[in-house]
């Protein structure tokens, strides 16, 4: 069965150029970049080249500002805990938002156990933070603000530049979790004005297990892993060179093809949202109409539960993601969806569709057709739908 992947946020195939570069490296570049001989030199050269490409993707003019990590989760943990530990003597207050990814939420929860205090600002019905709320939340004790660039469940993009102006003025460090943005939309760390920015290679068709943390020059943070002096003394351990080489190539291609990729994703997303009412009724589109990732659509469908829809779509070879509590294995409604005002039942019926390079227009047609029959079948079974029908 031909698989239609509409869940690029969970997994992206490696681009052929990325695969080739990594296979070449596996065969011929096994060196340790720290070594003082030519086997090491060759590895160091490849490491530098990858760093240049990755720095280029986020428009950092100093490649050393990029620290390679094991992925988005490590980057986020490093940024938050690294700042908290380095500045703990100056203050112990952190500001964040109600819709952050678990990597942020749980890093901060861990710090709360170590006597750090946290203020979490709300979002509006579109999932946007009001920069004034951030300004109000900052106290003399505040050492860090961490607000995500784009949301992984609803795609909303935050007013990062405005928040950065506030944090600069108040002399507080600002970290943004840009894991779902870097390589998808243009990211310019100089223009954004952030101090720290987390991202991951697999968002832009590089390998999973590699990521980056941008640390603006002059920002002192503690390492998360102690050991050698790799990564400018910020991340100990012999580099995952093969992964980093893959990430470098993926970054170069993402920068080069960005406009083309955005145009394609936008077209597919717009087609989906435009034609959706012809197939199903009673649903919400989550997120912001303008400030949104071009490749993500979040739909809350009434009277049904998301995991059931995922299973039915999968039977027909279509891969999507759901934000239902049951599927997450956490048995908790999504904090993001509750924060934008969805009720528990509607949050249960939420599907997240993320488009990618391998999608075509007829993928949307197929998805809509199968979605319609799945939703109809499940509504037939649903007592919520039945109650609503008998009340009408």
């Amino acid at each position: 069965m031909e698989i239609v992947n509409l869940d690029h946020m969970s997994a992206n195939p490696l681009l052929p150029e990325v695969q080739d570069a990594m296979i070449d490296a596996i065969k011929s570049n096994y060196g340790n970049p720290s070594s003082q001989h030519r086997i090491g030199d060759r590895a160091a050269e490849a490491l530098d080249q990858a760093r240049d490409s990755v720095a280029g993707l986020i428009n950092s003019s100093i490649p050393k500002e990029v620290v390679f990590t094991s992925g988005g989760t490590e980057s986020v943990n490093h940024a938050i805990k690294g700042v908290a530990f380095a500045r703990g003597d100056k203050g112990r207050h952190i500001v964040t938002s109600n819709i952050e990814h678990n990597a942020v939420l749980r890093s901060i929860r861990r710090l709360k156990m170590m006597d750090y205090k946290v203020t979490s600002v709300p979002v509006d019905q579109y999932g946007r933070v009001n920069p004034d709320d951030v300004a109000k939340a900052i106290t003399d004790e505040t050492i860090l603000v961490s607000i995500m660039h784009s949301n992984n469940e609803i795609g909303t993009i935050q007013p990062i530049e405005e928040i950065a102006r506030i944090t600069r003025e108040k002399k507080v460090l600002f970290h943004t979790d840009a894991v779902d943005s870097v390589g998808v939309v243009p990211i310019d760390v100089q223009k954004l004005g952030v101090d720290l920015l987390s991202f991951a290679s697999n968002t832009f068709y590089g390998p999973a297990g590699v990521g980056g943390l941008y640390v603006r020059r002059g920002v002192g943070i503690w390492p998360l892993l102690d050991g050698g002096v790799q990564e400018n003394n910020k991340r100990a351990g012999t580099e995952n060179l093969i992964g980093i080489i893959g990430m470098g190539v993926a970054a170069r291609l993402a920068a080069q093809d960005m406009e083309k990729r955005i145009a394609k994703a936008k077209k597919l997303r717009e087609k989906l949202l435009r034609e959706l009412p012809d197939y199903i009724d009673e649903y919400f589109i989550n997120g912001h109409p303008e400030h949104t990732l071009p490749n993500l659509a979040s739909i809350s469908i009434k009277y049904i539960e998301g995991e059931s829809v995922v299973l039915m779509l999968d039977e027909e070879g279509i891969a999507v993601s759901t934000r239902s509590a049951c599927a997450a294995g956490a048995l908790q409604a999504s904090h993001v969806l509750l924060s934008i005002g969805r009720d528990f039942a509607d949050a249960q019926g939420t599907m997240v569709i993320t488009f990618g390079e391998d999608n075509r227009e007829d993928d949307v047609d197929k998805f809509l057709k199968v979605l319609k029959s799945s939703v109809n079948t499940l509504r037939e079974i649903s007592p919520l739908f039945n109650k609503k029908a008998s009340a009408a």
Binding site: S120, S308, L311, M312, C326, L331, L338, Q348, I381
Partner: protein, 176 residues
Amino acid sequence: MYSKTVMDHFKNPRNVGVINDADAVGEVGNPLCGDMMSIYLKIQDDHINDIKFQTFGCGAAIAVSSMLTEMAKGKSLDDAKKISNKDVAEALEGLPKNKLHCSNLGADALHIAIKNYEDKKAGRSTDEPKRKEKHEHTHGDSCYCPYCDAEIEEGAVFCKACQTDLKGQTKTLGEG
């Protein structure tokens, strides 16, 4: 993730629907997992003559409902009362650990429906039916945190391993 039997009952659920002149109805809804089930019984000579269900929930919840109706159909009320959530999960060849919660709705709905019927017959007023929410161990004797799968004590309200409050259903980071 799911057994073949679960997928079969999910894809082709048995006994879906409503019995308009039902002799008894049982409804359970659980806000934690967001699942809901309604069960309708037609009873003759203290036997379940016909049974239908409606469920809002995940694949496991639908499969549990379907399997339960198959197991209960034709049984005497006394025998039907003996069907436990564990029996249903076993008939489905097991459910993933984090889905055991969903299996708890099937038998509960049936037992509530039967109780409603017996109360009505005896002329008793029926108490607001409460789902039992009894915790059943279908994976050995241990109890697991639904968030991180760490072994926890029976009835624990806080998971030490992942620092999760197991009482509240949702929370966001507040002040302090």
